[in-house]
Symmetry: C2
Subunit: 413 residues, 2 copies
């Protein structure tokens, strides 16, 4: 490893205004965790908060906790905290269900607002669950929609006055490319379509600016850069102007105007509550709520700046490996064009990633050939970044990887 890089990393760590946040996470020793974009690390105060929710709130206060410990308010409370990170008003975001189900909710809301339009446009390289949910909706509605899933370069030409909805993910889960939310939203709206953004790899990684971009709907994930824990509740955003104009489709009792009146006829709650359905997951929301407290002190703008610097350092350190070992960087070089991840293709990507994980550097693999490294600025140092590259270089030098069996059915790391 180039000595200048090592010196630079040490200097960057010394100057890092976010360095102290690392102590607020419980991380395994001797591991470098570059997969916070898949599952965020454990904030140190979360175990006690969940234990309190279980032992005191559930165990001792039992059913009275819905009021006494404000369980009933968790979806709105957590939503408001997330709103501050994604450029939304507190009453425009609610935490509920998982991302896939929230895609369903906002997609059907958007289609309601454009009943005469029969085209749904998305990116063929969008995260698959978003595309799957669109396909499910179209099957449900009798295949009345034309689904234009096109390459990113063809998105703008795919939009026309028949387009009801443009559904995009802001950061490509494979390449890390960050799409231009302002431009694409404006383009969709210029032809009269509505725009839905999936913020799975955005929220908590950099400042998302939903209202500044006039976004109509958004959804996102609680367990990546928001560190809410495995399978944490997801969130959804509906711009204020749309909230009362759309009726929910998953019309469960928690979205009713008076859930405890137990009347047989559905009447939607005002505001975002109507986009909740069944009883909320209190344990999951408690962990996510606690994890979000970190943002009381951490600046999302500072997180983005550190992300730029971490990924930049990583990419520079990787350059010799690209040339020597056949890695090909698929992540944009311009910082503002990428999320907080860097990805490379390599024909032996899966085997190499398994060897790297065995060597204590945890990244992940995405079929067919992408090794992916996520950089969570709250708990990663610049020295970590170079150490990861050094361990990868050792593996490549010794050729110490075997081709393990790959299964598409099991979760792959």
């Amino acid at each position: 490893m180039n000595n200048n890089l090592l010196l630079e990393a040490a200097q960057l760590d010394t100057a890092d205004g976010l360095a102290a946040f690392r102590t607020r996470f419980l991380l395994p020793e001797n591991k470098i965790y570059l997969d916070g974009n898949s599952l965020g690390a454990l904030p140190a105060h979360v175990p006690a908060r969940v234990a309190d929710a279980i032992e005191r709130q559930w165990g001792q206060d039992l059913i009275s906790s819905w009021n006494k410990n404000a369980w009933i308010d968790l979806p709105s409370k957590v939503g408001a905290k997330i709103a501050a990170l994604v450029g939304a008003n507190a009453d425009e975001v609610i935490a509920a269900d998982n991302t896939s189900i929230n895609v369903f909710k906002v997609l059907l809301a958007a289609l309601q607002l454009r009943p005469e339009r029969k085209v749904i446009v998305s990116d063929i390289d969008n995260f698959p669950t978003d595309l799957y949910m669109v396909q499910g909706v179209n099957t449900l509605l009798g295949q009345q929609y034309e689904l234009r899933f096109v390459k990113r370069a063809d998105l703008e030409t795919a939009l026309d006055t028949h387009t009801a909805v443009l559904l995009l993910t802001e950061v490509d889960y494979r390449t890390g490319e960050r799409l231009d939310m302002a431009a694409l939203t404006a383009r969709a709206q210029a032809v009269g379509a509505l725009c839905i953004w999936d913020l799975a790899h955005s929220a908590g990684a950099f400042p998302v600016v939903l209202n500044a971009c006039k976004v109509d709907f958004a959804i996102g994930c609680g367990y990546k850069y928001l560190n809410g824990g495995p399978g944490a509740p997801a969130f959804l955003f509906v711009a204020r102007e749309h909230q009362t104009r759309v009726l929910p489709v998953l019309t469960g009792w928690m979205g009713h105007a008076e859930p405890f009146a137990f009347t047989p006829d559905y009447a939607p709650a005002s505001g975002m509550l109507r986009f909740t359905a069944g009883t909320p997951s209190v344990l999951g929301l408690t962990a996510l709520d606690a994890a979000l407290e970190i943002w009381d002190q951490a600046s999302i703008a500072a997180v983005e700046q550190k992300s730029f610097a971490l990924t930049d350092l990583f990419m520079r350190a990787m350059q010799p490996l690209e040339a020597t070992y056949g890695f090909c960087c698929v992540t944009p070089l311009l910082p503002a064009k990428r999320g907080s991840q860097v990805s490379y293709t390599h024909p032996d990507g899966y085997a190499i990633m398994q060897a790297l994980i065995a060597a204590g550097v945890i990244g992940d693999f995405r079929a067919p050939d992408i090794v992916r490294f996520g950089f969570a600025p709250l708990y990663l140092s610049f020295v970590d970044v170079l150490e990861a590259v050094q361990r990868l270089e050792q593996i490549m030098q010794t050729g110490a990887w075997q081709q393990p069996e790959f299964s598409n059915r099991r979760k792959v790391t």
Copy 2:
């Protein structure tokens, strides 16, 4: 209190084969908890299990836990445990999402199988979220269905050859009446309809016999008699014969045949996995999975027998209060006709229940005028039951209740 009843209660406790299970729950001191039908009590081993999932599995093993700690298998594993309690095969039940969303899934599955039929029948006194979800589905599908929500006595005449689905809850959440699953399922199927049962107040309270009744679909709740914790994941059942014949509507990536192939086209997984959508709630599933271990030792048949005895004792002890203070029992007197709860109407029901809760007996109130007492045989004694009645009697004797403000928006106990 009648001395004979006190003696009988002591004798019943002595002979109670399930008495030892009380020590496996953490309950508040000096409280009698008669609301396990709304939120089950905390099993003593659950805090450590969730702490392990958070601190070791999430904190230390991080993303590798999807395989290493088998998070990916939790929906099926938990489903199989529930299957044993509801008379289903292990591969016919999966844990996922919440009950409301699972109603949506099975309702649309059933409608797919009866495309030519345009009537949905349910009980007007069904738990409202079930009715709300039907209304949401009908709105979504262009109001093509006639919704016959009728009084229970009129259910059979409401069924005809236009009926696609009969959707019922086995135990009435207000009155505790247990419906005849075998007869009503047969009646629906006799006209060619499919039958969906909501087991919210059944699973874990008595042996449900889905396959013996040839039930088509079922859904149920993890946080009541299954003690999975607040907002625990729910479950759904699809009879084997239907599993491959219906396509899911909430077509998320976790229900894909190859979720980690990341292909853009949806293809359903085989079996119950296709009825999952997004990333599962690992913390909630972990708590529920742990809570279900109690059934390795506890017999659901024994639980039902004790439920009969607890509710019978309670009803007999309440008889003098009915006559004197105007309580009116709305729960069937015949044990096999009721679930594990007893309810009374009283014009001051809400205020009385608040006073009773203040006196350490936790039941709940259901609008407009029902005081409801749930009996969870795993952690209730017969002496508890009489003590609850004695405390209620003291309140009624002194008239010590005030009319508090009632809100339909907040969770009411």
